[in-house]
């Protein structure tokens, strides 16, 4: 059994069982409570689910590698917003005026570069100062948000480019553009984490930093690369999403960090690092989106939604524990 294979990922975590429970519950409850004549598990609805999972899902892939690495990134929501601003604003810059629709790839690239740099900046600070990633990125969550507001005051930054919208709304082999990006990000990060030396070192560092240092792994640059990756993915998520919506509010992306972390942890990644995988994270993302969608489907009001989402998060953990307890006679510690 090689580490990182799909089978280990599927076995770990109750998340898949939970997704099935959700599907059953909302399908049955939907029969009684939903206004719609359409079934919840309608195929189109499931495709929509995949698409709607993309904004959080793409970032969650980055969060998985950062958390396995033993760090955390709370600034992703703000990075997301900054990248969106760069994307939308740069399309209007006079220097790109001659480019026509070629401005689109340029804007994409700029946004991705900015996201990557912001991520790398966090990584650099963690590396050079030794301040815990939690603090560094908690600070950056504020600081980057400040940059967002500095850019255009409280006004939204908008540039609706219908070519771009059409591209973003396009479907290929039945899947929306955003879905493809989500799947691609999942695959690439899975590949990095399960197959490459960089990925395996991420596990080693998160598991036992001292051992990794003793083994001569350059922990600092390594962590910085992972922060750059999550910055890149936060920007990618923004690029995919805002290509379609064309306008960013300075508050956009707020609380994304919490949702992303929730998805990652639900997917079985240890908050202390060293264990986790993107397949689980993918499940976590789907589970959350399914929950939101399902609660909307059955028409729950805001207070119920809050209550239910909260209780269900706890229920998943209980379920997970029950499943993992079986057959293990561990020390009672």
């Amino acid at each position: 059994m090689k580490p990182g294979t799909v089978s280990t990922a599927l076995k770990s975590g109750a998340i898949w069982g939970f997704i099935i429970l959700e599907l059953i519950f909302f399908s049955v409850a939907g029969e009684f409570l939903s206004l719609s004549d359409k079934a919840f598990m309608d195929w189109d609805n499931m495709l929509l689910l995949l698409k709607q999972s993309a904004p959080i899902g793409i970032i969650a892939m980055g969060m998985t590698i950062v958390m396995v690495n033993g760090n955390i990134d709370l600034s992703v929501g703000a990075t997301f917003a900054i990248a969106a601003i760069v994307l939308l604003d740069s399309m209007t810059w006079p220097i790109f005026a001659g480019l026509g629709d070629w401005v689109i790839p340029v804007a994409w690239l700029l946004a991705l570069v900015v996201g990557t740099l912001l991520g790398a900046l966090n990584g650099l600070i963690v590396w050079k100062t030794g301040v815990d990633a939690f603090i560094v990125t908690l600070g950056a969550m504020l600081g980057y948000r400040g940059i967002v507001f500095m850019f255009n005051g409280e006004q939204p930054t908008s540039h609706l480019n219908w070519t771009l919208v059409d591209f973003a709304e396009a479907e290929f082999l039945g899947l929306a553009t955003a879905s493809w990006f989500l799947l691609a990000a999942t695959f690439v990060i899975w590949f990095v984490m399960a197959k490459t030396v960089h990925g395996r070192n991420a596990y080693a560092i998160g598991d036992n930093r001292e051992a990794a240092v003793n083994a001569g792994i350059r922990v600092g640059p390594h962590m910085m690369i992972n922060f750059a990756i999550i910055g890149f993915l936060a920007a990618l998520s923004a690029v995919v999403f805002y290509s379609e919506s064309g306008s960013v509010n300075p508050n956009d992306g707020q609380l994304y960090e919490l949702w992303v972390i929730t998805a990652v942890v639900l997917g079985g990644t240890k908050i202390t690092g060293g264990a986790g995988n993107v397949i689980g994270t993918f499940g976590g993302v789907i589970a959350i989106q399914l929950l939101r969608k399902g609660l909307g489907h059955i028409g729950a009001d805001t207070s119920t939604v809050n209550l239910v989402i909260g209780l269900i998060l706890v229920a998943v953990l209980v379920l997970d524990r029950q499943l993992n307890m079986k057959g293990k006679e561990e020390l009672k510690v």
Partner: protein
């Protein structure tokens, strides 16, 4: 001789890096606006920090025990709304204990889930953040909660009264800090909290009931939250459902800024108090300087990182981290 004093200064710096950072910021702000250090301003900052501060004191226990509590913000909203609602229904004398009981029940639930069922505290408390918010909205029907007779109630004493020439919220903050400081540093329970957070397995091997210790930490946290809710409700005698929204991260920032490790096993009440004051004074100082709110965000970013950096750099005796 000179060597020894230098060493002593060095070790003082190492121990109190965060305190020194704090003093440095105070001086900086005072230069920027001389009104910053006037007694009135200082008192008003501490008074408004008291609510966050009391919550941070409780969360310090949770963090030292190796867990997180992200539910404190929404739990505080809950306490505030409940006590305000009950105030008019059953009178303040009964409303206060009733609110404490309800808040403690929530704390006990979280403590049970994290302590006895050993569930991941991040997700449990994140879930409870949401669930308690839903509970509050259901309880209040989403409406603001206000006391009918704002002038005639003695309830306002906790948030607005003064004693010994000091605002009561400050006195409560100091009292809770002193009490919890003693519990943490001097009692066997406090020792157990450190042990459980430092190495839970070793604590179990030493006969320490890990689950019960964690459970108690959440009860303490809930008590602090209820106290904060009391001060909050009394301070404005009315409240929105969202009064505590987002405070969980500020509270956590204060605790971590004070030097507690998220991994558990370290931190002190005194340092948390410093962390709380730093946050409070940064906010106030930046307002007094009158920077745009977004510049304040950026400055806060820099200050938080600088403060923690200074703290740990002093401890390790080197500015740059030894990470390869």
């Amino acid at each position: 001789m000179a060597d020894i004093t230098r060493q002593q200064i060095g070790s003082l710096l190492a121990k109190q890096g965060i305190l020194i950072a704090f003093v440095a910021f105070l001086i900086g702000f005072t230069i920027a606006n001389p009104k910053f250090l006037t007694p009135d301003n200082v008192l008003s900052v501490i008074r408004s920090s008291a609510i966050l501060g009391v919550m941070a004191l409780g969360v310090t226990f949770v963090v030292i025990s190796g867990n997180l509590d992200l539910s404190v913000g929404s739990m505080m909203s809950f306490s505030t709304i409940v006590v305000l609602d009950l105030h008019d229904k059953i009178g303040p004398a009964l409303a206060i204990p009733a609110m404490f009981a309800m808040t403690l029940a929530l704390g006990a639930l979280i403590g049970f889930l994290v302590g006895y069922l050993k569930l991941n505290s991040l997700i449990v408390t994140l879930g409870m953040l949401s669930a308690i918010h839903g509970l509050t909205l259901t309880y209040s029907g989403g409406k603001n909660m206000d006391i009918a007779d704002k002038e005639g109630t003695w309830f306002s004493v906790f948030g607005q009264g003064t004693a010994l020439g000091l605002p009561i919220p400050i006195l409560m903050f100091v009292a809770v800090a002193a009490l919890l400081g003693l519990i943490l540093s001097r009692t066997s329970f406090g020792r157990k909290v450190y042990a459980v957070g430092g190495n839970g397995t070793a604590a179990t091997f030493s006969g320490i009931p890990r689950a019960r210790t964690v459970f108690m930490c959440y009860l303490i946290s809930a008590t602090c939250v209820a106290t904060a809710g009391l001060i909050q409700a009394s301070r404005s005698l009315g409240s929105q459902n969202t009064v505590g929204q987002g405070l969980e991260l500020e509270v956590l920032a204060a605790v971590i800024l004070g030097g507690a490790s998220l991994l558990g096993g370290s931190g002190t009440i005194f340092k948390t108090v410093i962390g709380v004051l730093i946050l409070g004074f940064i906010q106030n100082g930046l307002l007094l300087i009158g920077l745009q709110f977004y510049v304040q965000f950026i400055v806060t970013w820099v200050i938080i990182i600088l403060a923690v950096w200074l703290d740990i750099a002093a401890k390790r005796g080197k500015l740059m981290s030894p990470i390869a």
